[in-house]
């Protein structure tokens, strides 16, 4: 299901903007960007992004593929949707950032073990496909240990008091994960959707 963009190893790639337009969710509206910077200025974590959305959009147009896909900006996005509602040209900024963030990992511009969001997303998706639901105990634990055993222990201990508070107030339970009933149905639907998604990515 890997969507391979044109010439994955090229630093400058003038077909990159077209590829983003055709393959990234919301990418077809990126050409509406007029570089006003409302998105970057509205972002709660804008000051922790190395590029920010406004720069990223211009760099995509310039074909600066490698520099774009090595950015940390995608993984600082908190999904607050301020950029989406404020953009005067209706560019769905958040969606494009997430799409680029996914692409950057797929194509190896970002190393998964260094991208907390990708490791968290994997832990999350594991629970969703196994139980049909997010298990709020297993997902964080799996994620903590995905960064290595030492980090797993460290993060688990740091969150111990929170977990105990959750248990005490019955917002976390002891026992098997909550699960949807007909998991076979959901698995078949998700597998088919992934197959269709891969088919489209291959067509592009």
């Amino acid at each position: 299901m890997n969507a391979v963009s044109p010439t994955p190893t090229k630093k400058y790639d003038l077909s990159f903007a077209r590829w983003v337009r055709d393959n990234v969710d919301g990418g077809d509206r990126m050409n509406m960007c007029m570089q006003c910077g409302v998105c970057s200025g509205s972002c709660p974590l804008g000051d922790q992004m190395d590029l920010g959305p406004r720069k990223i959009f211009m760099m995509v147009r310039a074909g600066m593929k490698e520099a774009v896909l090595k950015s940390n900006s995608f993984y600082q996005c908190v999904s607050c949707y301020r950029c989406v509602v404020r953009c005067p040209r209706e560019v769905p900024v958040k969606y494009i950032l997430h799409g680029l963030g996914r692409l950057a990992v797929q194509e190896g511009y970002q190393v998964k073990k260094d991208v907390a969001n990708a490791r968290f997303a994997d832990a999350f998706w594991w629970s969703v496909t196994k139980y049909g639901k997010t298990d709020e105990r297993l997902v964080p634990t799996l994620y903590f240990f995905s960064g290595g055993f030492g980090e797993g222990i460290k993060k688990s201990l740091a969150n111990l008091k929170i977990a105990l508070g959750m248990l005490k107030t019955k917002r976390m339970h002891i026992g098997m994960p909550h699960s949807s009933k007909k998991k076979g149905d959901l698995s078949k639907i998700l597998a088919k959707a992934a197959e269709i998604q891969a088919r489209h990515e291959g067509e592009a």
Partner: protein, 299 residues
Amino acid sequence: MSKKFTFYPGCSSEGSGAHLDTSTRAVMKNLGAELEDVPDWNCCGASVGELAAGHLTNAALSAHNLAQAKSVGEQDVLTACAACYLNTHSANEEIRENEATRNDLNEALGEAGLSYDGELHVRHACEVLVNDYGMDAIKEKVTNPLDGLKVAGYVGCQTVRPFAGTERGGDYDEYDDPDFLDNFITAAGAEAVEFENKTSCCGGSVSVMKPEDTLHLMHKILAEAAEKEADVIATPCPLCQTNVEMYQDAINEKFGTNFNIPVVFHTQILAVAMGLDGTKDAALHQNIIPATKLKGMAK
């Protein structure tokens, strides 16, 4: 007003947001709404499903829920969780408007003998309270006004963004400075303090994975609530409630503060004001930082 809805509880309803689920059901029932759950619901994908699995595969989660909701009846689908609403509403609109997506998702649903063509309307519980019931109907049910309770109404992000101002989102409020939550608070007889950070972000799922990057966002929210001498912070969003509550120790450690501010749901406040049971209906025993003053007012 007797009205039926199909209810999508979402994963947090069985865990960190159990008190939102309990108090929402109690308040809606008290207003005369009848809720029937989506039979075998699954996760909506939250903020990270798309990063893990891609857009279409993530949307298939919602398509499965919606296909099952259709089997319950043609009434509107209601959800109280901000992320569940965002994902489910957004997938529903895409299925309605985009033929290619509709066909793709139906091809996937076909694997389980299901189909869905966007027949339903997915709505947030706050929008339903505003548009279908209104403040007058809520005030009518308030038998235990919360005189003297100062509340910082913290809306967060995804409850209102990006749909609260759209036609299908019910067009019930604005994105930066919405009024609905303050209106709920005053309808409950409490005082809504002026709260500039009402739509500031708590960091969402990034706070769960990398709190070191987002503690300052929550610090800003808590600092204003403390400055305005709020007794409680009230929010409609399960992730906001959990984040702003559970990280107060870490924030105190990092910023040298001494916050211990209860964070409750708007529906817990409404349930108490409606004279419903403080534990069974308002689930006040489920706040890690006890909302002592609100608890003292509960029947």
